[in-house]
């Protein structure tokens, strides 16, 4: 095994835990871990030097809940680890989990999320004890909700015993049916099959109640409505271990974007009304939402160049996760420190991995970021395996300019 030489990142504005503003200083990595970091740290003689040039130095991003392992896109976006959903490749047996867990190393770490039920069909429990030993870091219900409450309770109880978080998709299947849009004026005008936004709160209310019975940790991968966020807020106030995530689509866009049947706007859950978008922003600001993730799900033209209702849901999001989250900092919704808690610290903690913070002893997963650098999203020139971004041709700000995984530069 090759040993990475000691490294010092100098001229850094460090995003340190507990600090609201960046601090000028140096970060030293030895043997793949952060050896020392802070304003008083100095490089040592033997260190390789990386001059950050006064740029922001942050934890590498940890992306919770992606559908593809798409290394170039993740590296472009400053992401060093991704927790991959069990849907593609069906991670319901230990052998596949083990394969996926090692598939990105050394320069990108993939953390498989074990399928909660066999074939993700929502009926029989999968072997998540064995899958945990094979490298699974959490359990997930996949793209779908588990409709049977008895099955979901047993999933939560079993996961609690193994101390694994259960990541759920909150849309009541009976209400959603074949819906591809949120019920409302836009879906009505376009004649798209739609479901009420309340499908989310219904699913969430049940899952929170079951998680409380089971004493399980519940992570709702995407909470996208005001009513759903209120339930999460209330659960947290009662001290329940419930966490929530969202992707930039649901704080940047509302269902108005679906007009003209743009299939890059076909997402799951579907885009919501404007007041729900505002509720998501408020929930990010007040800490109800813990994680912002890319939901990275590249889809080629064969999945997207179709009539809206026939197209596949999902967006390529790895490259735009950072700049779109930084929009919230520029809009003074959150502080820079809070942004990296959402993008790195919190998802790493949910997964139980020693990353996501610039602290001595943590793995040296570090990004050098120019938060103001302007660029234009171009769906035809993306690093991702497909360019299905809802943000095509949009000017954004913020780029990862260097990325380190375990102290070795990977981008």
């Amino acid at each position: 095994m090759s040993v990475t030489p000691p490294l010092a990142i100098i001229n850094a504005r460090l995003m340190l835990p507990g600090e609201t503003q960046p601090v000028a200083g140096v970060l030293r990595c030895v043997d793949g871990h952060i050896a020392a970091v802070g304003p008083q740290v100095a490089p040592e003689q033997s260190d390789a030097i990386h001059d950050a040039g006064g740029k922001l130095v942050t934890p590498g991003l940890v992306d919770f809940g992606t559908f593809a392992v798409d290394k170039p896109a993740f590296h472009f976006g400053g992401i060093v680890r991704a927790a991959v959903m069990p849907d593609n490749g069906m991670l319901d047996v230990p052998s596949r989990v083990r394969f996926v867990a090692s598939s990105g190393k050394p320069d990108f770490w993939v953390h498989p999320l074990a399928a909660a039920t066999q074939g993700l069909e929502g009926t029989r429990l999968a072997e998540f004890g064995l899958m945990k030993d094979a490298g699974a870091k959490a359990v997930a219900t996949g793209r779908r909700w588990i409709a049977d409450s008895g099955t979901m309770l047993r999933v939560l109880q079993y996961a609690a015993m193994l101390d694994l978080v259960v990541c759920t998709h909150a849309e009541d299947a009976g209400l959603t049916g074949n819906a591809v849009a949120t019920a409302g004026e836009m879906a009505t005008r376009l004649g798209l099959p739609s479901a009420p936004a309340e499908a989310e709160a219904l699913a969430l209310a049940r899952d929170i109640a079951l998680a409380e019975i089971a004493g399980a940790r519940l992570h709702v991968r995407q909470v996208t409505t005001a009513a759903g966020l209120d339930l999460v807020r209330a659960a947290k106030a009662r001290g329940l271990p419930v966490t929530a995530g969202v992707t930039p689509a649901h704080f940047m866009l509302s269902d108005i974007a679906v007009a003209e049947f743009r299939t890059f706007m076909r997402l799951s859950p579907p885009l919501r009304a404007e007041q729900d978008r505002k509720a998501v922003i408020a929930a990010i600001a007040d800490g109800t939402i813990d994680v912002i993730a890319s939901g990275h799900d590249p889809r080629g033209p064969e999945g997207k160049r179709l009539p809206f209702a026939d197209s596949e849901p999902g967006m390529a999001g790895a490259e735009t996760l950072l700049p779109l989250t930084l929009n919230l900092v520029r809009d003074e919704v959150i502080s820079m420190a809070h942004a990296f808690e959402l993008l790195a610290t919190n998802p790493a903690r949910l997964l139980g991995v020693n990353s996501g913070r610039l602290e001595a002893g943590a793995e040296a997963d570090v990004a050098v970021i120019d938060p103001d650098r302007p660029w234009i999203v171009d769906s035809s020139q993306m690093e991702a395996s497909a360019g299905n971004t809802p943000f095509d041709r949009q000017p954004v700000q913020g780029r990862s300019v260097a990325l380190f995984k375990g102290g070795a530069q990977v981008a």
Binding site: A183, G184, E185, A187, T188, R189, L190, G191, L192, P193, S194, P196, E260, F261, E302, R305, L306, P307, F308, A309, D310
Partner: protein, 326 residues
């Protein structure tokens, strides 16, 4: 009574669109322009010799990805009466079933140098998707639950013929609004032309936020019918009748069927319309559908051919180099 009364900008400025994908996006004067253009064909179609050569040499493809008898026939007759070479493509006979994508089919049709393509497809937005990929005018003959613009235009023409105007009339649209492209196009067209539109359906068949489309929603049919000038019944799809959306056809008839007794309680001159095909005895009773002085149902079919002739004529003026439309 129904002579063209409107004045328009000259030439193609009267209808500056390559395609007819929906009523949405058309200005009121553009709708009136199409209605007025159709007037000449109403009289023409009643002649014994009804042949015009203005589309001679042009190829029109009717690409129907969803079953249709009436609309397809109407478009075919319209094209042929104007002298065009009309070709019909049915999805059942096409390579769609062999896995070809919609875009590939569109590119294939395009490569055959059609001068206009008429499309019906089961998915909302599919016609726009094809229109974006081909070089010739595209006419929407119904896309999913989105729009069916020529149906709305022929309904407007029928109403104008019967009542002399559309502005200020109260029109009730009753039935499965949730799944109806006819309803959506009619709502857009009639409200744009100044009619008051009421919609009536059981809650399960009423689209969310429908009032945002400038209509007044009702659940009680008798209330909706009060003072109505026109009542437009929608077809109840067979597959939606049993249990899922409504308890049973006979219960539907009880609450929403246009029966003789119910019609008798309305104004004596309320007119009856239905886009067809009808479920006689469910949403409309036979003796209502066949009322000679009040039912416009066969008149709608007649106006359909005239409207489609007008649309084909107007949309091909560019390729035919008509003065002012090049």
């Amino acid at each position: 009574m129904t002579s063209p009364a409107s004045s328009y900008p000259p030439g193609s400025a009267a209808f500056p669109h390559r395609d007819l994908v929906g009523i949405g996006g058309l200005a009121p004067h553009e709708l009136l322009f199409l209605l007025d253009e159709a007037e000449q064909w109403v009289g023409f179609n009643r002649l014994s010799q009804k042949h015009d050569d203005r589309l001679a040499g042009l190829t029109i493809i009717n690409a129907f990805f969803e079953n249709s008898t009436r609309t397809l026939l109407s478009f075919e007759i319209a094209g042929k009466r104007l002298g065009a070479d009309v070709v019909n493509m049915h999805a059942g006979q096409s390579s769609i079933k062999k896995g070809e994508t919609l875009i590939d089919t569109a590119m294939t049709l395009n490569a055959m140098h059609a001068d206009a393509i008429v499309i019906r497809h089961g998915s909302s937005g599919a016609v726009q998707l094809i229109a974006d990929k081909v070089d010739c005018p595209v006419l929407n003959a119904g896309d999913g639950q989105h729009e069916h613009p020529t149906q709305a235009l022929l309904d407007a023409l029928t109403i104008r013929h019967a009542r002399g105007r559309i502005y200020g009339l109260t029109v009730v649209i009753c039935g499965d609004l949730l799944h109806s492209r006819v309803a959506r196009s009619n709502i857009l067209c009639l409200t744009s032309l100044g009619a008051r539109v009421r919609v009536c359906a059981p809650p399960a068949l009423m689209p969310a936020a429908i009032e945002q489309m400038k209509v007044e929603p009702f659940h009680q049919f008798d209330k909706a019918l009060e003072g109505a000038d026109v009542v437009m019944m929608l077809r109840l799809q067979n597959e939606r009748m049993e249990g899922q959306f409504i308890p049973s056809p006979r219960e539907y008839r009880h609450l929403y069927g246009l029966t003789e007794e119910r019609l008798a309680r309305t104004c004596p001159d309320t007119l009856v319309m239905h886009p067809g095909p009808m479920n006689r005895g469910i949403e409309i009773d036979s003796n209502v559908a066949d009322l000679v002085d009040r039912s416009l149902i066969t008149r709608q079919v007649e106006m359909g051919v005239a409207i489609r002739m007008a649309c084909l004529d107007v949309l091909t003026r560019g390729v035919r180099q008509v003065e002012g439309w090049q």
